[in-house]
């Protein structure tokens, strides 16, 4: 039932993507927020040219869990929406695809805020 090879590729691909970001942070002093934006846009690009599907085929969560996966989902949603609805799909696609991730982050984020009080910042 459990595909060991796929688990291993998920580990390696996810690890390599993280290392790429780490090298960028250490060498260029890019802030985390910029890294996230960069990776989301890279994801849209990788999804647009079809490279995402090829990597996803063998690495699964290795590419879908990093923010690249979020970007690729957006590209995928756009493609689907344009196929189905034409011109209007250009505007509908991005949010349709990103809906689950965005809503989950916002809803869980809000609930956690209500449950936990922020700690006073040290330093």
């Amino acid at each position: 039932m459990i595909d060991i090879l796929r688990l291993l590729s998920a580990f390696v691909v996810g690890g390599l993507i993280s290392v790429t970001a780490q090298v960028l942070i250490d060498l260029t002093r890019l802030t985390p927020a910029r890294i996230l934006v960069l990776f989301v846009c890279a994801g849209v690009f990788i999804g647009a040219i079809g490279l995402y599907d090829i990597i996803f085929e063998f690495a699964g969560a290795g590419i879908s869990v990093p923010l690249i996966g979020f970007g690729a989902t957006v590209a995928d949603g756009v493609r689907e929406a344009v196929d189905k609805e034409g011109l209007l799909g250009i505007l509908k696609g991005p949010f349709t695809a990103a809906a689950a991730g965005c809503s989950a982050s916002l809803v869980f984020g809000y609930l956690i805020c209500l449950l936990f009080k922020g700690k006073p910042k040290k330093s």
């Binding site: 996810g14 846009c41 699964g60 969560a61 290795g62 923010l67 949603g77 991005p94 910042k121």
Partner: protein
Amino acid sequence: MEKAESYKKRIKLHTPPSALLKDSALAFLFGGAICLIGELLATLYIYLGISEKDAYTLVSVTLIFISALMTGLGIFDNIARHAGAGTLVPVTGFANSVVSPAIDNRSEGLILGVGAKIFTVAGPVILYAVLSGTVFGIIYYITKLFI
């Protein structure tokens, strides 16, 4: 000239070995481990009869929930301090960057504190994802007209 050379050598002896290697190794391990957990979850969800596409969406949602909770409990930062990009690049980092500023600014109220600050990092990420998605949509639409 020689003096400068030997000075450089001495400096090299006394500075700690580049943090890059250690940072990268940790990022690889943590980033890889999170994706491995994601793949295990996906296997479980598919086994439970969820379609592959939905299973991977659910994996992201699950990881977002876990990271949000760990951020609230104050555990996330302790892990992220060592993991660096290992926890930043997976959706865990996105979830953390949504919750963290919102909690920190809770004292400013539920509207302009939590409500506005929850988008501090999520805002740019969603904006640029939608922008680049739209650009792709326009290109895709035009190429479809000709093919």
